[in-house]
Structures are given as C-alpha cells and as structure tokens.
Symmetry: C3
Subunit: 273 residues, 3 copies
C-alpha cells in the first residue's frame, strides 16, 4: 500500500506551497525535490492566495513566526480550503509563547487542516491548551514510550475526531491517527533529533504525500512518516566515525532521493491500533 502512495508522489510531482520558517526552509525545499515533488515558498499576503491556487498542497509552519505572515497563512489556508487542496499545519513551538499558541489556535479556527503534525508537547498545547513545551522540542515529561502508547493513541484519535484532521505525533514512536485508525510507527533513529528541522522536513514531505493521495490522507501521512524515519535509518547506516549531524542531515535527504516505492513498502515498520 505504501508503495502505491509513494508512486503517486513520484508520478504526479505535486507542487507544494510552503509558508515556513527561515531556519529550515532550504531543507524543506530539497526534501520536496528529493521525494519527487516541487517546492514554492511565498509568504507575502498579496500573493499567497494566487500562489496556492497553482499548487496542489499547502504547508503552514509557525517557526520564526512574525505578525506579517500570520495574515498570509490565513489567506493561503482559506484559499486552499476553497479549492479543496490539502493543508498541513506544523505548530512549531506552540506553547513556548503566547504568540505561537494564539496563532496556532487562530489557524485552527480559520482553516480546515488535512493534517496536523508536531511533537507531543505541541499537539497537547493545541488540544488541551496546556503542556510543557521546552522551546521547539518535546518536554521531558512528554516522551512517548510503550508505557503510555495506548493512552497517546486514544488522545490522538480524539483530537483527530475533534478537528477533522489527521494527527501526526512524532517522537521515539510516531503516531498517525484519524478518529478511527492509528498507525504506530517505529522507523527512525534517535540521532535525527540532532538535526535541526527534521520535523519541518517531515511536514513538507507529508504535504507532498497527501497532495498526491487526496483520498487517503491517513495512509499517505503514515507513509510520509515511515519514509522520513526509514531515511533516518538508511542515512545513519552510512555514517563514518567522523560524520556528525551535518553530514547526517545531507544523508537523510539523499535517502529520500534514492528511496524507491518498493523500498518504502519493505522498510516501513508499523502496526495499526
């Protein structure tokens, strides 16, 4: 199944509009190219609705948020909704400041998201209005382990039901859930947390996977999460004893570039709960 989903990305080369932060934007562009999609970045309020209209998916990411671009996010999101394009939200750092929390809430009120992807702390802030966000990383009390997996799955399904969006919570174990079905994904490598922006890259990748598979949002999201984690495994296996997080960053994107749909089918490690 993962195979067909990835083939659709490679065959359709969806154009993805990204309104995202300036820290990891280059990696977001290169990972979109790596998976077979095409990126465009545009954040001025006067052009975002037009740009979104020529694309087939939109990725909104609130890292390095500023007041100028909030209106752009809402304008692009509404236009995408009007055109039935999928919209992916990455609520980077929600909970770390009132601006980020309020903006994430405002986006949820104004835009219908296909997917919301964040770490557990960020998603909890959106769902519960509280949580321990340690900057842009998950709070220590919030790590997803086997111990709390069922509880987190139930939480994700409930938030998916409430928002109508697929919820992707990424961490040591990743959860992708709609209101009925949850994928628990065990791809990835701990060293991925030493590379800035693997979460942002995954959100871009998810936008491409969902844009190319609009009728299967949950499975397309799960496939993107598996692909990213599997790329982290492939890239880790290549590292020499001198290589660190910067080379690892390159190798992760390289692994997406070289990954075939068949490889993803075989490399994906997940169970359904």
């Amino acid at each position: 199944m993962w195979k067909e989903i990835f083939e659709n990305v490679r065959n359709q080369t969806p154009l993805i509009h990204n309104i995202t932060n300036y820290v990891t934007v280059n990696d977001c562009a290169n990972i979109l190219l790596a998976c077979g999609a095409s990126p465009i970045m545009a954040d001025d309020e006067t052009e975002v609705a037009e740009i979104t209209s020529i694309c087939s998916g939109l990725h909104i990411n609130i890292g390095t948020l500023n007041r100028r671009t909030i209106a752009s996010m809402i304008s692009a999101g509404k236009q995408s909704n009007a055109l039935n394009h999928p919209v992916v939200l990455d609520p980077v750092g929600a909970g770390a400041s009132r601006l980020r929390t309020d903006t994430a809430m405002q986006l949820l009120q104004n835009i219908r998201f296909s997917v919301i992807r964040g770490n557990i702390s960020e998603i909890k802030v959106l769902a519960l209005g509280t949580g321990s966000t340690n900057g842009v990383d998950a709070g220590a009390a919030d790590h997803i382990t086997e111990y709390c997996l069922d509880e987190t799955v139930a939480f994700a399904k409930e938030f998916a039901h409430k928002t109508g969006a697929v919820i992707a919570i990424t961490g040591a174990i990743d959860i992708v859930a709609d209101s009925q079905t949850a994928y628990c994904i065990r791809n990835g490598h701990p060293m991925m947390s030493s590379v800035t922006g693997t979460g942002c890259q995954l959100s871009s990748l998810t936008s491409a996977f969902v844009a190319a598979n609009p009728e299967q949002v949950t499975t397309a999201t799960a496939a993107a999460v598996c692909a990213m984690g599997y790329a982290g495994e492939i890239a880790y296996a290549r590292l020499s004893s001198l290589d660190g997080n910067s080379t690892y960053r390159n190798y992760i994107i390289d692994a997406i570039y070289r990954m075939t749909p068949q490889m993803l089918e075989e490399g994906a490690k997940y169970e359904v709960r």
Copy 2:
C-alpha cells in the same frame, strides 16, 4: 578567453551585494566564496544604498518577495546604476503571481540591468507579458530543445536589444545573448533541477563574474553559466549510488571551489550563434 575571465574573479575577489530569497541564500553566499568572490546580504531600505556603494556588483532575486524589500531593491538598483556597478536580475517565479510579475516589471522600468537570468518561462513573462510559469520551474511547454533553439536565440537577442541587458535563459540548453551574439551552452546535468536554488546560485555567480569583467558582460555571463554547468558535471561524476540531491548540492559548490580557470577553459561546451 573563459580562463582570463575566471582569473579576474579569483584575483579581484569582488564584493557582491545580494538582495535575495531566504530559501537559497546560504548557498548563494557559499558559491560566491567558492568562486573567489565575497558575499554581503542586506535588504533593509535604510542601508541598501550604502551597502551597494562599497560593493562592486548587485544581485536582485525576487524569490520570497515581500513588500518591505521591493523598495530596497529599487533603491539599491538605482544606486548601483549611478555608480556604474553591474546589476543582475533573477525574476524567480515571475508569472506565478501578480506581485512577482508586477515587481519584475517595476524593476525593469527603474533599474538598468546588466544581466537578466531566468528560465524560459520567467523570461517570456518579462518579454511578452505572458507565459506558462509552473511555480518556480519552467512550464512543460517551454523547454528549450534543439528543435526550437534558433527561435529561442532570436527571442533572446531581441529581448536583449529591447532591454540593453544580457539575457541568460537556462535550461537543458542554456542561452546567453546580447543583441548581436548568442552563446548556446551544453554544460550541466539534468539532476541539477533536483537541487533547490541552482538558478539562484548561478545568478550570484554571474554577478561576481560580471563585476570582475565589467567590459565583457556577455562573455562573463557565458563563462559563469559554463562554470555552473561544468560544476554540475564534475559533481555528478563524484556521486555514489547512495548520494542524492543534498550531497549533490554540496559537491556542486565544492566543484566551483576547486575549479581552476584552466579547467573552465577546457570544460566549457558552447557554440556561438
């Protein structure tokens, strides 16, 4: 001839002012350093005229355009014109939104450009006020092939005549033309289109080549285009079966860093039409 042009860059280490997008700006800076030039990025209206004055060339790139920086572009461009510094325009995504098309037109009206470099779709938008821009990549109907090469050369010469700028249209075959002479360049590799910002990087590189060779704008532009394409060939030859577009990005910049003027002289593949 290419050799002397590149030697001038290495010997003069021109300082290049870039007003460019936040997606590919780091690669633009590193490729300028790789070729022997020095980058400075500044986009606030209150400083751009001063910054441009201490530089020997200006690169204006409208990717991730926003209203704040349009005035900066015009201010820097006018100051560069007053000082007879070369100015290179990269009309990223012209045709994809009214903001980009209108801004490109406004820049053409207010600034005398030495070089305009884009894909065929972007250049057509500037020349004809129409064209099929698919985001930031050339539209499918617009690819330059042997079949339409003479026609595209004639178009480039005419637009060069009209604007007074050297026109660089990059694609599978690159064309660099003034009103009299066109270079058709066959360096490069298709995989370059899988790296974000190779076009932006080339525009930065062109600014350095032209700044160090102000009396030979056409040949300096052609030399930069050959150098970029040749770097793409050298970098491609290094790739292992695990390397993808991210490593390729690094190797292209590395290839510019290691390229000698003599290597460029021997590696450049072009004909004059």
Copy 3:
C-alpha cells in the same frame, strides 16, 4: 579546564535563543545541536521576551538586520539582563552601513553583554567609532598578526574594561579578553574564511558555552573559540582533493558533534597574555 567547560555544555543542554540573520541561521542551529545545546529562533517583538525567558542564553546577530527586529533585539536583551542570562553580541558588518553601526551602538547602550564577538574591523568600529570594514570581512589593514598582537591584546582588554563584556576578536590569531586576562588562540585554518557564517556559528557556540558556565565567562568563551578552531582543523584534515567549502562546512559542524571534552582539552592551542 577546557574539558570541564565543554562537559557542562554536554550535560546541561542549554536552550539558546537566537535572533540572527537568515543567511547562516541553519548552520547556527545545527552547530548548537552538535555541541549538545538546543536552539530556538524567534524574532517577533511580541514573543521574544517570553522565548528568552525559557532559555538560558541569548545570541543577537545583526547580519541581515532590518528595522522590524531591532526592537525585538532590545526587548529580548533587556529581558535576558533582568533574568541574568548571558547575552552574546555578533556585530556583523558594523561599519559597513550607518544602520548597522548605529544599531550596534544602540544595543551596547541598552543591553549588558556577556560577550561581544566579531572580527577586528567590527570591534574597532564599536570601540573607536571608526575602522575599515570591507563588508562582513575584516579590512585588509586590520589583520591580526604576531607583529601587532600585543597592541591588539591591550586594545581588547581596554574595550572589555569599558563595556564589562568579554571581547572575542577572531582572525588568523583569535583573542579572547576581559579587562585582566587575554587568551591568544592559534587554532583554526585559513580555509574557514571560505565558509559563510563560521563567525555566526562561533557566536552561537559561544552562547551555549557561556550559558552552561555562567561563572566563567572568559574561559568559556575561550573554550568555544578553541573548539571552533579545532573543529576547523579536524574538518580540514578530512578533505579530499575534490572537496571544497561546502563539504568543509558540513565537516566543521560534524567535528563539533564528534568532539569530546577530552579532545578539546588536548587540541586547544592558546597562551595567556
């Protein structure tokens, strides 16, 4: 001594708030992760005081300065001062424009800095109100050599006395001085000047070292400068004849990632004057 300082960084994983330029911001984030710290980037005036409050250090960098973020820098700096968090200033390009010089001066008047790190031209502009800044690189007349080392050490100590900040002047020989003690550091490699943002990365790294060692600002800064230079040596030793400045960039960050406190202790080359 260097060993303990670096161990504190690895053990405490300080969260560092960066208000920095969009050219080198990704490398700043990755080098912070490489040393064991955690980055957050936020520059909107409405959130910077809050973000700084959850961090343990602040890095202010004026490359790609714009008027919107000056107020953010001052707000974050004042809040950090109030909380006794260390604040590091990188006055990129001070002297290249009135905006940059005036902003650097305004920051000095409003914020108490723990460390000011720049090239000699930038530091002279701050100290003397004059100097030959050639864009973002040190002016040719300003290179630190053995010949002028004692004089530069005296200058650094005096400026440290005046500002209360540790002064880090980086170049062929690096100087880290408070009013009493100066470290003259001979780590590094000339090729580091071919990588954009090694200075910015060092400023981020310094913020992490100082945040984890708030009682030893001078030695922590010297340790960060040694670490960066030593990483440049380790990375240079790995380069093949095809590798250039882009691969070198990755290897420098990799070297920080792989560097142990013990390695730093043994690799640091410095004398006290």
